[in-house]
Structure formats: C-alpha cells, structure tokens
Subunit: 247 residues, 2 copies
DNA sequence: CGCGAAACTTGACCTGTATCAATGTCGCAC
DNA sequence: GTGCGACATTGATACAGGTCAAGTTTCGCG
C-alpha cells in the first residue's frame, strides 16, 4: 500500500495495489461491471482496456472545481466527497461517490465541483479524450449517458427539497436511508450503514452543523430508532426512519 | 385570448393566440430560434414543424410529478414554476422556466417535478415519441442534450449551495442577480428585474418563508441596494448585490 | 368609484438550529 | 501503559428565521 499517490500533484499515480493480473486491474473490472447505471458490461470491458488505475490516500484531492476536466474517474473502492466552497470557506457537499460511481462524465471542459478522498480510494481513470472518442463510437451510449445525467439531476432536486424544506431530524433520517440503499448495491443489503465520512462531512451535506448532526443521531439512538456503532449506524426502527425520510 | 386552455385536463389546447401565419406559430419560432442552449437554429426550424402550440392561464398545471412524460414543452412566453411537494404540503420550487426553456428533455418516462403557469404561458409542445425520434436522427444533438443536462446539474448544485449554506439576504440577492441574467437573454439586459412570481414562490424557491422574503427585500430597499417597483425590483447597488450573491 | 379578495408588509414573539465552550472517546506513537 | 491529536458528544446561550396576527396595498370588477 506504500505506492499510492500520497497527495495531489504526484505525476504518476501508482497502479491499484490489487492490480496484479496480466489482464489489468481485477478489482476495477469487478466494479466496472457490477454497478454503473450508464454503461453495460460489454462496453465496460472494452473501456477497461483504456483505463489507468490510481489510488488516493484519505483527505487527498482527486480534482478541484474549475480545473480542466482532463480525466474521467471510476471509483472502484472507497468513498469520495464532492463539494463546492464559498469564498469565506463555507462548504456544501453536493454528493458522495461510492464504488461504481463515475466522476467527470459531464464532458464539460471543467469540473463543476471539487472531489477528495474520504477513505483510501482506488479508481480507474480514463483520459477525457479517449473516453470521449469511445463514446462517440457508440451513439446509444450517449443516450444512456443523457438518461444518467437526467437521473443525477433528479437526485439533485431531491437534495434541494431536503435542504430547503426539511427539519434536521428528517435530513439525517433521509441521509441514512438513502445511503443504506446505495451501499446495498455495493456490499449487499444490510441494516448496518457504514459512515466512513465524518460528522462534519454529513453536516456539510445536509446543510447543518456538526453539533446538530451529533445531537440528532444521539436523540434517534436514545429513542431506539437506531444504534450508533463504530464507523456507522445500525437502523432499528425502519418504519419510523422511513416515515421521517419520505420522498 | 378566450381560447386558451383554462385548466388542466382540457383535451385540445388551443393554438397560440398569436399563431396566425400559415407557416405556423410565429412567436414560437422566435423563441425556439433565440435562446435554447441545447439546439441550434436549423434543428429548431425542423423541429418546429412538429410542434403543437398550447397556452395556459395563470395557476393552471402543465403537468404533474410522476405523470407519464408524453410531451416535451418549449416555453415561448411567460413563466412556469417547477416544484416538488412533500406529503404534508411543504413545497420546494426547483426552478422557474422562462421563455426559450424546454421542459421534459430528460427523456425519463415520468416527469420528475410538477409544473404550473405563473403568468399566462404559451408553449410549443412535441409528442415525446416524435421528439425522441427526431433526436435519434441526429447523434450530435444527443451530445448537445447531454451537455445541456450536465449544465442543469451544475445549476442544481449552485442551488444546493444556496439552500444549504447561505443566509436569507444572500439567498435573495443571488436570486435577483441570477434572474436578472436570465431575463437578459429574453428581454435584453436591464437593472429592472421583473418578478412575475409571487413572494410565496420566491420563498419556496429559496427555502425561506414569505415573511422573510418580504422583510429582506424591504431591508435591501431601505438600505438603497434596490427599489421595489410594481411586479419587480430595480437593482441600485449592483456591487453590493454582487458581493452578496458571490458564486 | 368603491368593494372585496388576494397579495404583501410589518410587528411581536417563539423556536430550531447555530454558536461557543468544555468534556469525552478513540486510535496511535513511543 | 501514557500522552497526544483528531473527532465526537454534550451543555449553555444566542440569534436567524419561523410563526402568528394585524394592518396595508393592489387590483379586478361591478
């Protein structure tokens, strides 16, 4: 694990630590094949041959907002936070990328947000031009990409409702339920939801302070709606949480 | 103006009141040609021949969230509010559509939000299948559509920052500045920003109450940052408003 | 012109969440 | 083990914005 990119700016990120087979990055392949909504298996196999694996230590930066978007990332392991900053330092996290997610698919010439690793993160990267050329050879893929972007927009609108019109308790419950659903596609369904991101990250995602997130979790735990466990929570009263999280 | 669709459910919306020339809806053509970021002039001319004009009175519904998305709309005049509701009636407006904007471009099979007319609204409508077939004949158009969706996503993320991390005063200033920029593309640049939507609509867009919007506008007016005029505001202290609205 | 309804503004007060300040807990280096 | 730093929790207090309740303005309409 010593060869991973230690911080932003390293020119030659190491291959994935688990990329040992002659055919490429084994784990990358798993992730590529298993999850992404925008691409199908055959396309991903083809795409994989174009990939450059790279690994990032916790708290290191994948890319910054407004920087030229030269690379498309596929997260194969770990969690990435995506955020925008206000000039005075206030931060809004606009999403978390989980294994299987792509970053930089918008094909805009600059990144719309900054991204950094929450945990150790492994990725497959594609030079933007290569990815773009690949897409151009497959018109139906472009359509899928558009549907995918539209779906992301819909999720963004969910988040607007959450940020604009929901209470702290509803925000936290929504966050936990939707994160549970997302983990289900990575690690399988479970009432134990891993929370590799810190309380500050959750707060910045939900438009709250760290103290309010902490108090709300404590209260839900005291009322037996959930149990706080190391690095996550175990959901106990699913009907109640569901009710708080209603679309 | 008597022939416009009076309310949701009318089967045969009237043609645009100004659609009098033999070639089709003149004003529709103007709007189609002048603004939309996703399509170019030639494509729009072609598309126009497929359009069905329709007109909506204030407060009538264009479509509801989760309803099958059978139609693509191009707003040619007026303002439409796009919103989601929580089960208890709380409302989050996710955007306002101005002349030139398209609704239903996501090509998802259901609408992701509800839409109703704020002012009298005229539209050109395209059966979804026709629009979809049209797009399929032009691969490069699909790419443009994807870029367009990505841009919308970026705007949605701006709104997340606004909702999650900005004060009431910053929210109001941001709203006015960005609306000014959008009107500039419709009616030309001006320091007078029309506000055809009511205070409640602005509040539901900014995640505030009607009283807070009113107080904030009053305060900005008292401090000579702007002047409240019938159906809008005149921006006086642009540097100050700009500072409050910083990206 | 005058009425009535809807939209908007204003004021007084309240509350949810932020802020400020300890205190507690965990993991890790030595 | 012990100490240290990062992160999380808890408590006391403050305040931005919400809520409730009058007014006031606007405007359509007879």
């Amino acid at each position: 694990m010593m060869s991973c990119e230690q911080a932003r700016g390293a020119d030659t990120p190491s291959p994935c630590p688990h990329a040992r087979s002659r055919e490429g990055c084994v784990d990358c392949k798993v992730r590529l094949l298993s999850i992404c909504a925008a691409l199908d298996a055959g396309e991903l196999c083809e795409l994989e041959s174009l990939s450059h694996p790279a690994c990032f230590e916790p708290r290191t930066t994948l890319f910054l907002q407004d920087e030229p978007a030269e690379i498309v990332y596929n997260v194969t392991d770990g969690v990435v936070r995506l955020y925008r900053l206000l000039p005075d330092g206030r931060r809004q996290i606009v999403g978390f990328a989980l294994p299987g997610d792509f970053l930089g698919l918008s094909m805009a010439d600059r990144f719309g947000f900054s991204a950094d690793a929450v945990t150790r993160v492994t990725t497959c990267r594609f030079p933007r031009e290569v990815f773009s050329a690949f897409v151009d050879t497959k018109p139906h893929l472009l359509r899928r990409l558009h549907e995918f972007a539209s779906h992301e927009l819909s999720l963004a609108q969910d988040q607007m409702v959450l940020l604009g019109r929901r209470t702290a308790e509803e925000k936290v419950a929504s966050f936990l339920m939707s994160l549970r659903d997302r983990w289900a596609r990575v690690t399988g369904a479970s009432v134990t939801v891993p929370l590799p991101m810190g309380r500050q990250d959750i707060a910045d995602f939900l438009g709250l302070t760290i103290e309010t997130v902490s108090r709300t979790l404590t209260r839900l735990a005291r009322e037996r709606a959930l149990l706080i466990v190391p690095d996550g929570v175990r959901l106990l009263d699913l009907p109640r949480l569901e009710r708080l999280a209603v679309a």
